[in-house]
């Protein structure tokens, strides 16, 4: 799995690398950089108008003015790009409004197939788990076959009430009675799942306006597929103009899309992206951190996200220990096993790896894919080692290898591969942590570096 924005980061970094080596930025450099930035952003599906503005701002600021003594001109360009990117992405983490008089009404809108129904359930789960709210769901998609069944099934999975009236009633009436029902039953939050519709379908857009007028939502969230291309701007503009949305949920961000739509939507609506859908499971909805995303674009990694993630799933002490181990590259196979267990409970490995600084720069990490079935094999091999072997992998000689292979039901080649990869991984940890420490140094990724569980 590749990480959203990874290729964008890579592209920018390549250009920056060229400039970084120089003591002085010439106008030709700025021009070349601007061209690279432009291409990268376009390839990432950022709307071409947004790209134009962005590149012009960077150019203006990069040439002349604001010269700082502490930075080389190359660093300064990077700083400018980072600042502009951060500014464009917005600078705040967003929250869900609370109505002064409950229930808080949240309306989900968007095109067909963006993921409204799934996001409705994910958001309800999130609000209950993290904010102690008691949501009720309302099934107002009467058009798509079995959309109500879908929400009902999700409601059952979550053990959460779903209000529905079938497909023969006007959605405007359904949401109105749904909100009344929520009030009667003392739910503090009610989430309305509406049908997907084209932003140019006047009748259906009017229907949304009527719904808005009748229930007066506290939040109107536009659900947008992160893979959307240039059209994202039209969609966001239209929904915002007609409904005045309060925020955006970006879905399918666990794909390998570069997600430039996020930048475009921010730029044209100036509404915050509040959440990101990061997987098919019901708990894979995360608050969207624009400032972290911007730093991720520039390859500075997302250590904060990693630590936060570790805190919710692993106890804090263990997380610190893990972090220290990562830093010191002081791994034994025992730690390794423990990490596999903990990491497994933290969610998909590729998510975590993507948050590590520099991970997207390593050769072989590009288009990285993690094969979960390999983890079992790795575990078996490690568990077939003696305590001493786990602590000092160096002592593993040919006959030990044969024994380990036999014990784990694998081959000597498998054992060799794991040992090699384990060493590579330790080296890489060292490289990454030295980068984190701010020392520029030589940071060449080893060619074809692989984690033991990568395909």
């Amino acid at each position: 799995m590749t990480i959203a924005f990874e290729s964008l980061a890579e592209r920018l970094q390549q250009t920056m690398q060229k400039i970084k080596g120089k003591g002085k930025v010439s106008e030709a450099d700025v021009k070349e950089m601007a061209r690279e930035v432009r291409l990268a952003l376009l390839e990432a599906d950022v709307n071409f108008k947004v790209v134009k503005q962005f590149v012009n701002r960077v150019k203006e600021r990069a040439v002349g003015q604001e010269v700082m003594k502490s930075l080389t001109p190359g660093q300064q360009v990077i700083k400018v790009v980072n600042e502009e990117l951060t500014a464009l992405m917005g600078s705040e983490e967003s929250k869900i409004e609370t109505a002064p008089k409950p229930p808080t009404v949240i309306m989900m809108v968007g095109l067909q197939g963006a993921g409204k129904t799934t996001t409705t359930a994910k958001l309800a789960n999130y609000l209950r788990k993290k904010k102690n709210r008691t949501p009720m769901l309302v099934a107002a998609d009467i058009y798509r076959p079995a959309a109500i069944d879908q929400l009902n099934t999700l409601g059952k999975q979550l053990d959460m009430p779903v209000y529905s009236e079938g497909t023969d009633v006007s959605p405007v009436d359904i949401v109105k009675r749904g909100v009344e029902k929520a009030k009667e039953e003392h739910h503090d939050t009610v989430i309305l799942d509406t049908a997907g519709r084209l932003h140019v379908d006047e009748n259906l857009m009017d229907e949304l306006k009527e719904m808005k007028a009748s229930v007066n939502p506290d939040e109107i969230l536009l659900v947008v597929d992160a893979m959307t291309g240039q059209d994202a701007v039209n969609v966001a503009e239209q929904f915002n103009e007609l409904l005045e949305i309060s925020g955006v949920v970006l879905t399918k961000l666990d794909g390998d899309t570069r997600g430039g739509a996020a930048l475009s939507i921010r730029a044209v609506t100036e509404k915050p992206i509040k959440f990101a859908g990061m997987g098919e499971k019901i708990d894979q909805l995360e608050p969207f951190h624009p400032e972290r995303m911007a730093s991720r674009i520039l390859g500075m990694g997302d250590v904060l996200s990693l630590i936060e993630k570790a805190q919710t799933n692993v106890d804090e002490e263990k997380a610190k220990e893990l972090e220290a181990k990562l830093r010191n590259a002081d791994l034994t196979f025992d730690d390794f096993l423990e990490q596999i267990d903990q990491v497994k409970s933290m969610g998909p490995l590729e998510d975590l790896l993507g948050m590590l600084p520099g991970a997207n720069k390593m050769k072989g990490m590009k288009n990285m894919q993690v094969d979960d079935s390999q983890i079992g094999k790795v575990e078996a091999i490690v568990r077939s080692m003696t305590k001493q072997e786990k602590n000092e992998p160096k002592i593993i000689n040919a006959s030990r290898k044969r024994r380990i292979a036999k014990g784990s039901g694998t081959t000597v080649q498998d054992v060799n591969k794991l040992l090699k990869q384990f060493e590579d991984m330790k080296k890489m940890m060292k490289q990454m942590t030295s980068q984190m420490g701010g020392k520029a140094g030589k940071r060449k990724g080893k060619g074809g570096m692989q984690f033991p569980f990568m395909k």
């Binding site: 390839e43 076959p145 079995a146 140019v200 390998d256 079935s373």
Partner: protein, 326 residues
Amino acid sequence: MSFFKKLKDRVTNQTDSVTTKFKDGLQKTRDSFSEKMNTLAAKYRTVDEDFFEELEELLISADVGVNTVMELVDELREIAKLENVKNSADILPVISEKLTEKLDFTGDDSKLSMNADGMTVILFVGVNGVGKTTTIGKLAHHFKEQDKKVVLAAGDTFRAGAIEQLGVWGDRVGVDVIKQAEGSDPAAVMYDAIHAAKSRSADVLLCDTAGRLQNKVNLMKELEKVKRVIQREVPSAPHEVLLVLDATTGQNAMAQAKQFKEATDVSGIVLTKLDGTAKGGIVLAIRNELDIPVKFVGLGEKVDDLQPFDAEQFTYGLFQTLAEEK
């Protein structure tokens, strides 16, 4: 412009209803695209760097894809230089000719390949939310109209409500749906469906699968397995593997096409949701870079709003205003 005339003549000879449907569905595309082309010609009377830059942006805004656009614009630069074209109006026909060239006009591979002696099995693949189930419903209707016996296989056992959704389409169109419980093995559903369809002597079996992002290794392996099971039961099958693409998707559609092709040897594309403002320009890029033909386009929400792809119709729709003005 002889090119446009030829195109127009050939298109007008075709059935009007299809043309109208195409025209309506592509209204948005055509309006904005050709409008911009004309504005471009008016704005830049001379062919210079500004003109090419604007052209680049126009094509990029249609999601054609950066590589394809750069390639195309470089070719045009070359032509303009060689033939000493100064007037922007003179280069417009060259632009459309180049575009249609890239779409590949031969069009032989844009027809569905059907099994001449026995049941035709079509497998549908794609990422989440592109419209696989809806497309199957529409295509079932399409085959039913041709008096074919159709059976549907509810292979999306993952997403909540997916089986019910296909069930509704089955009722609507009047065809049988073979299904198992949610969460069961999709390969097992296919096995069942093939035998059920055979015993009912069906002509066509349409196999739904769960949407999956192309970078999920395990899910792509599952899809490979589904295809293997189909192949084992009917050696010549699947006769088509159709990748369903959402026209609003940007550059990631290329990655989707690549990965799904690698896993399941995709034989064609269904481009859905072309009735919005999305330009569908990605068709060009995919044809150009991966040589996967588009077989159907989704032009609306109604059951008969799925149309066989016709490169000439498509191009005519894109350039209609231009064609009529010239």
